[in-house]
């Protein structure tokens, strides 16, 4: 136990007190802050003033004055009017979603005690602006015995909320990229550490002082702690990014939102999403780390290791791309299937769960699959590692692996 503790602390110090760790974290920190504030940053450069919104309207005698006031209010302060109002006939109601000339069709009609608003549009971008202004004008107009207007809104049948789509796409940035980075760091950590000791033959001296199984365990635990530290740092960067976003909102007065705020707003179950993400990253990382440790133990040189770790990285990249693009490209089935494959699950399950593709039971099943697979891999790999770490075979990967498996049965 004493030696295990010592090896873990030595491995961590070696990694955390390196310049490369500091530099990579500065870069990751900056990138995280930028990604978190991407909507704000895009908002800063987005010049909506050049756009115009074509509004067709139908009114009756009692409501025609509302359009004039609405025009004045919405275009107030603009050098060039953004909202262009054009009167039309009721025929457009039937053909509105088939035409492209107008962005919005607004029909106002007087009822007994209030007005009726019918709003046809292709998206909900200007809903708040139009409806709130009309309500305000109605309050001013009726003054006494105010009755709120009745509102009917219409969207195309195939309408998809762009914000939800953006959020699901954004999940790839918020979840998948950091997960991919963390797993890659972990694999590098454990692999490079082992192959450095093995290729320099220092492992011979080390293993003469500590059991191979303890050595193996220390590398896995140290890497997991490293992953945990890196994850906490990422969360801190995220919080800093959010704080910067809030600060810039209050300074510029722009009503842009950081990804964190949008995320919390659209995912009320964000706590369970974070817990599930943490569980999958932890167990998934263990699976990858064990295989990376085995690969490094089989390799004899740094070059060997770089070649042998190729398949692991390919698996990781496949998982990354599935979670990144499958949902956005309508490949829900792929995302769902990948969530039950242990090598992909750490990256696909958080995204699939957050987007509502997986139920709680399915997530539990995916977690059980990952957990059992990781357990089996640990049991199978440990004896091979004990043999391979002190052997210097020069044959091809699978031949070498086969030899070590056979040898492990005899030791």
């Amino acid at each position: 136990m004493k030696k295990l503790k010592f090896l873990i602390s030595f491995g961590l110090k070696k990694r955390l007190l390196k310049k490369s760790f500091l530099i990579s974290n500065i870069i990751i920190g900056l990138l995280t802050i930028v990604i978190i504030n991407l909507p704000t940053i895009i908002g800063l450069f987005d010049n909506d003033n050049d756009q115009t919104v074509q509004i067709a309207y139908i009114t009756d005698r009692e409501t025609s004055s509302y359009i004039t006031s609405l025009d004045v209010t919405l275009n107030q302060g603009l050098d060039v009017p953004m909202f262009i109002f054009t009167e039309t006939t009721t025929e457009l109601e039937d053909t509105f979603f088939d035409q492209q000339q107008y962005d919005i069709l607004l029909r106002l009609s007087a009822q007994e005690a209030s007005i009726n608003i019918q709003l046809y549009r292709f998206n909900t971008t200007y809903d708040t602006a139009i409806l709130q202004t009309l309500q305000l004008l109605d309050v001013i107009d009726q003054n006494q015995n105010y009755m709120p207007p009745t509102t009917e809104t219409f969207l195309p049948q195939d309408y998809e909320d762009p914000v939800i789509n953006e959020i699901i796409s954004g999940l790839s940035s918020v979840f998948t990229l950091p997960l991919f980075l963390i797993l890659t760091f972990g694999i590098q950590f454990v692999g490079v550490d082992i192959i450095e000791e093995k290729s320099s033959k220092a492992i011979e001296t080390i293993i003469s002082s500590v059991k191979a199984s303890i050595h193996f365990l220390s590398k896995i635990i140290a890497s997991l702690i490293f992953i945990l530290i890196q994850s906490i740092l990422l969360v801190i960067y995220g919080l800093i990014g959010s704080a910067i976003g809030n600060q810039s909102t209050s300074v510029t007065g722009m009503s842009t939102e950081s990804l964190t705020e949008v995320f919390v707003q659209y995912f009320p179950n964000w706590q369970s999403i974070l817990v599930i993400t943490a569980l999958f990253i932890l167990i998934g990382a263990m699976l990858y780390l064990v295989i990376a440790a085995l690969t490094a133990s089989i390799a004899t040189t740094q070059e060997d290791y770089q070649t042998f770790q190729g398949p692991i990285m390919i698996l990781l990249v496949i998982g990354f791309y599935i979670s990144l693009f499958a949902s956005a490209a309508g490949g829900d089935t792929i995302l769902r299937i990948a969530s039950f494959i242990p090598f992909f699950a750490p990256m696909t399950v958080p995204v699939a769960y957050a987007s509502g593709l997986l139920s709680n039971i399915e997530v539990f099943l995916a977690l059980a699959t990952l957990l059992i697979s990781t357990g089996i891999v640990i049991v199978l790999v440990t004896p091979i590692y004990k043999v391979a770490i002190l052997s210097y075979e020069q044959t091809k990967l699978f031949q070498r692996l086969k030899f070590y498996i056979q040898k492990s049965k005899h030791e």
């Binding site: 004493k2 450095e196 220092a202 001296t205 080390i206 002082s209 040898k407």
Partner: protein, 300 residues
């Protein structure tokens, strides 16, 4: 005392070590010899408890050797085996603490050994910045840092100049005086001869020679006779029964004979030569016995 009794180890069909037995008492230096792949490393690993023998037993001071004993064992492997990207001090802290030596003791012992090997100035240098010879010294210090009860040295002198070799020799002698058991392995058999009282020679896992060096030499029977004279009649020497080989050197010749009985026959011929200044009957060097035994075993 280290007692290795009838130890065998195999990997499937491959017999790495067969029926190996030897004993080392405190203060004894024991030679474990063999060609590459003979089974020496497997034997070292079994002694350190890294792998369990298939049969037989290994005891250290009366108890079955296990991983709990590694803190009392110092091991220096044949090749360079150091982490090169860290400083000498950090490396010793790492390896020393793995042997459960306190930081204070590591510091004290490291300073002592660095001073003794005249490399104090390298304490804070990265290992990769050191010359091969100095790296060898660091590796040697790493094996000594826990003041081991049992010291396993595999080719400790490789890459060392004669002065540094002498430093190592003195150090090993000091440990011997303190009662440390030393297992010594080297292809430089003159070192083995000067150090060890007893040896075992392994070949493909089998013991082909074992016992005290003196007994081995006496049992071997063949002798070498060095002759110096102004005129040597090679023909007459070659015709003597029992003469196996004659080697010519700048100032002398070496006649190898099959047994003690042939010496008198050779002497009778040599005394007929002019100005004979030397007639030395020499025991065969260990290297000669080693080569002879290994070659015979390979042929068999």
């Amino acid at each position: 005392m280290l007692d290795v009794k009838n130890v065998s180890m195999s990997y499937g069909e491959v017999k790495a070590v067969q029926n190996l037995s030897f004993t080392i008492k405190p203060g004894e230096i024991f030679g474990l010899l063999g060609t590459n792949g003979a089974g020496k490393t497997t034997t070292f690993r079994m002694i350190m408890g890294l792998i369990q023998p298939k049969s037989g037993s290994i005891t250290l001071d009366g108890h079955q050797v296990s991983y709990d004993d590694v803190n009392d064992i110092g091991y220096m492997i044949e090749e360079r085996s150091l982490l090169t990207k860290i400083t000498v001090k950090d490396l010793m802290y790492y390896l020393g603490q793995l042997k459960e030596v306190s930081k204070e003791d590591i510091e004290k012992r490291l300073d002592y050994w660095l001073d003794r090997f005249h490399i104090t100035e390298y304490k804070l240098k990265k290992v990769k910045e050191l010359s091969k010879g100095n790296q060898q010294k660091i590796q040697f210090i790493a094996a000594l840092i826990n003041n081991p009860k049992l010291l396993i040295l595999d080719e400790p002198f490789s890459g060392l100049d004669p002065i540094n070799t002498e430093l190592f020799v003195q150090t090993i002698r000091d440990f011997q005086k303190q009662g440390t058991m030393v297992i010594f392995s080297s292809h430089q058999l003159d070192h083995v001869e000067s150090f060890c009282e007893k040896i075992v020679v392994l070949e493909k896992g089998q013991v082909i020679l074992e016992g005290p060096i003196q007994t081995i030499k006496e049992t071997y029977q063949k002798l070498n006779i060095r002759i110096k004279a102004t005129h040597i009649d090679m023909k007459s020497l070659e015709n003597i029964e029992g003469v196996i080989q004659i080697d010519t050197y700048p100032n002398a010749i070496m006649v190898k004979v099959a047994s003690k009985e042939c010496v008198k026959d050779v002497f009778d011929v040599v005394k007929t030569f002019d100005h004979v200044t030397t007639f030395d009957v020499l025991e065969p060097p260990l290297s000669e016995i080693f080569i002879d035994k290994v070659t015979r075993h390979e042929k068999a």
